[in-house]
């Protein structure tokens, strides 16, 4: 086997036993733990969960962009064979924006309101590539065309406030894609957009996924957004991945009771006989109130005494951490 094929077989991203902790006056608070995740080149992973489940923290941890007092508390994050947790800041900076990039929910937090869009794109190009201003401008126009912005030449000289919300998000996607990164982490990029604009952008993203061959981690609380893009889906609950597998299987034949409850409580399901929606009892616990063993057990209809012990991680290509998993019956 040659080096090249060995490299193609090895995952682009490999997280093993990663934890994320916050240092507080009362000692470290573990927000995410036992995180195990692999992502192949060109693959799209949907990372879903409710607020506080740790999905965004996971994205920031991979980018090496956790804000103190948050930090990676343990484990390895291998990116193309290199452990990101041990890289020095300069090496990490060379990777970020170049071989890995991030798209955030609110493009106004990414874009500088006092600089034109063109200035910002050109700056991002020249940060990683030694090209002249004219060449950078040509690349910037191409980058904007790629994400479906018409009239790109003229719009380069506009400021962010002159763009609509959907157009601004296209610009931040264009910036993320500039250097054809191996990995793009997108954190709820379409959540704040209107239905018709979200549809436009998801179709653009789907085309870009096929064209560019980058791997994506698409973070969302909305399973229906992820359903259209992801090859695989990982479901997080209270700081842990409770289920991970092929997208279609997770969405139609979930094994973990939390995934099943989430799918059944979606409003696009038909109503129950009494006209009501399916609901999961209770709410997700704050970090300090997480229980031992299975963290979902206070809300789980299947929970019993066994669930006080940490659940086993079962399955191979479709993994789930549960003592009493569903047997894979179809939910919809």
């Amino acid at each position: 086997m040659t080096d090249a094929t060995a490299k193609a077989d090895e995952p682009l991203l490999d997280l093993s036993d990663v934890s994320i902790v916050f240092d507080t006056a009362d000692g470290p608070l573990v927000a995410v733990d036992q995180l195990r995740l692999r992502l192949a080149r060109g693959q799209v992973l949907g990372l879903v969960g409710e607020s506080g489940s740790g999905k965004s923290l996971t994205g920031f941890a991979i980018m090496g962009a956790l804000d103190p007092p948050g930090r990676v508390g343990g484990g390895r994050i291998l990116f193309d064979g290199e452990d990101l947790t041990t890289l020095d800041p300069a090496a990490l900076r060379r990777l970020r924006g170049n071989r890995m990039a991030m798209i955030l929910q609110d493009p106004m937090l990414t874009l500088n309101p006092t600089l034109t869009i063109g200035t910002q794109i050109i700056e991002a190009i020249r940060a990683h590539r030694p090209v002249g201003r004219a060449e950078a401008r040509r690349l910037a126009v191409a980058a904007m065309r790629r994400v479906g912005i018409g009239d790109a030449e003229k719009r380069l000289d506009s400021y962010p406030h002159e763009y609509s919300g959907g157009m601004r998000q296209r610009v931040s996607i264009a910036i993320a894609l500039l250097h054809a990164p191996d990995l793009i982490i997108a954190d709820e990029p379409t959540t704040a957009l209107d239905v018709t604009v979200q549809a436009q952008i998801l179709l653009e993203v789907r085309r870009l996924v096929e064209e560019m061959g980058s791997a994506w981690i698409w973070i969302s609380h909305d399973l229906s957004v992820v359903a259209g893009l992801a090859d695989r889906i990982a479901v997080m609950y209270a700081g842990r991945i409770v289920e991970e597998g092929p997208a279609r299987t997770v969405l139609t034949r979930p094994r973990h009771p939390y995934t099943q409850g989430l799918l059944r409580s979606a409003p696009d399901n038909p109503p129950l006989a009494d006209g009501r929606l399916w609901q999961i009892a209770g709410s997700a616990p704050a970090i300090a109130h997480r229980v031992s063993g299975c963290r979902f057990r206070p809300r789980c209809p299947r929970a019993d005494a066994a669930c006080a012990e940490p659940p086993p991680d079962s399955g191979t290509t479709h993994r789930f951490a549960c003592w009493h998993p569903h047997d894979g019956e179809a939910v919809r």
Partner: protein, 327 residues
């Protein structure tokens, strides 16, 4: 059919930037055109019956939140009238001011973080003479029970509740003055899926148990489809389609509603089903002539730019303002 609790007829609300001295000088000397006028709500008719949930849907800038503020009397319409039980709803008072209450998206922002929940909930009803202060504990316990919380919650502070529980408190705050209609403005938009289902079920219970009428403002079609009895679809401040929820969503008449329905994502993950509309909703400053939707409409013909469309079919429960019904 019982009489509507709330009726809106021809309601219009405009906003204009108040010109400063320099602007006025420039306009007076002809150096600058007069200021832009935002037509946020533009001739809306709406009826809400007792024990009915009316969904008001549309994208950002369509005027749905402004309409909500007009319905509760937080603002006065520039044209048209809103009546509650036949009496006019007036900004800042009038007989309807307790009977119509509002529930906002951000529950944390409507609760005082420094006061115990019980004392906040009882403040308005005591001030309005609806409850005697000596009856406060029993009143609060009953109110909390109605929204699915324990009586002990009264002694706690808002930060000691989860997001879903805070939205229950927010609903309890609205219910405290015994309204007959509540206006919910994106009341479940920031909640997680599992909690969102709980709050929607609570609203359905309040409708069925207590006969509460609800105006449910949301951008989320799936949520509105599940909870609303009737729906009004807003585009650039106008109702473009209204009818029973099932009829509007399953047999949409207006091309805009059809676009919203077809572009709504579902768990089947089929993006190939999506049919992208060109452009984005125009700003309510520059409203197109004729049919408001014609610049983006896949069915538009030149006549659509010329004249405002009529309601089709006229005098039906389910109508759309579109002249291309046979297309």
């Amino acid at each position: 059919m019982s009489a509507p609790v709330l009726t809106a007829r021809g309601v219009t609300k405009r906003y204009a930037k108040r010109p400063d001295l320099i602007d006025r000088g420039l306009v007076a000397t002809g150096l600058k055109p007069p200021g832009d006028i935002v037509r946020a709500v533009n001739g809306v008719d709406l009826d809400i019956l007792p024990a009915e949930i009316v969904g008001i849907v549309g994208e950002s800038g369509c005027g749905k939140s402004t309409l909500g503020r007009l319905l509760v009397g937080l603002e006065a319409p520039d044209e048209g009238r809103i009546t509650f039980d036949g009496a006019p709803v007036r900004a800042g008072g009038g007989p309807a001011h307790l009977a119509v209450q509002m529930v906002f998206q951000d529950a944390a922002a409507t609760l005082n973080p420094r006061r115990r929940v019980g004392s906040q909930l009882v403040e308005a009803p005591v001030a309005h003479g609806l409850v005697d202060r000596s009856d406060a504990p029993a009143f609060v316990a009953d109110l909390l029970r109605r929204v699915g919380l324990e009586a002990e919650a009264a002694a706690r502070y808002p930060h000691q509740f989860s997001g879903g529980q805070r939205q229950r408190l927010n609903i309890a705050r609205a219910l405290a003055v015994a309204p007959r209609l509540i206006v919910c403005d994106e009341a479940v938009a920031s909640l997680d899926l599992s909690v969102q289902a709980q709050i929607l079920n609570l609203l359905l219970d309040l409708r069925d148990r207590e006969g509460l009428a609800i105006a449910f403002i949301s951008h989320d079609l799936a949520v509105v489809h599940r909870i609303a009895d009737r729906v009004a679809v807003l585009y650039l401040g106008q109702v473009v389609e209204t009818g029973r929820a099932d009829a509007v969503f399953d047999a949409s008449r207006h091309p805009y509603t059809q676009a919203l329905v077809v572009n709504r994502l579902s768990l089947d993950g089929r993006l190939d089903r999506l049919s992208v509309l060109p452009g984005e909703p125009p700003s309510p400053v520059s409203i197109p002539p004729g049919c408001l939707f014609h610049p983006r409409c896949p069915k538009a013909v030149p006549a659509c730019a010329a004249a405002a469309p009529e309601r089709h079919p006229p005098a039906a429960d389910h109508w759309a303002t579109c002249n291309r019904q046979d297309a």
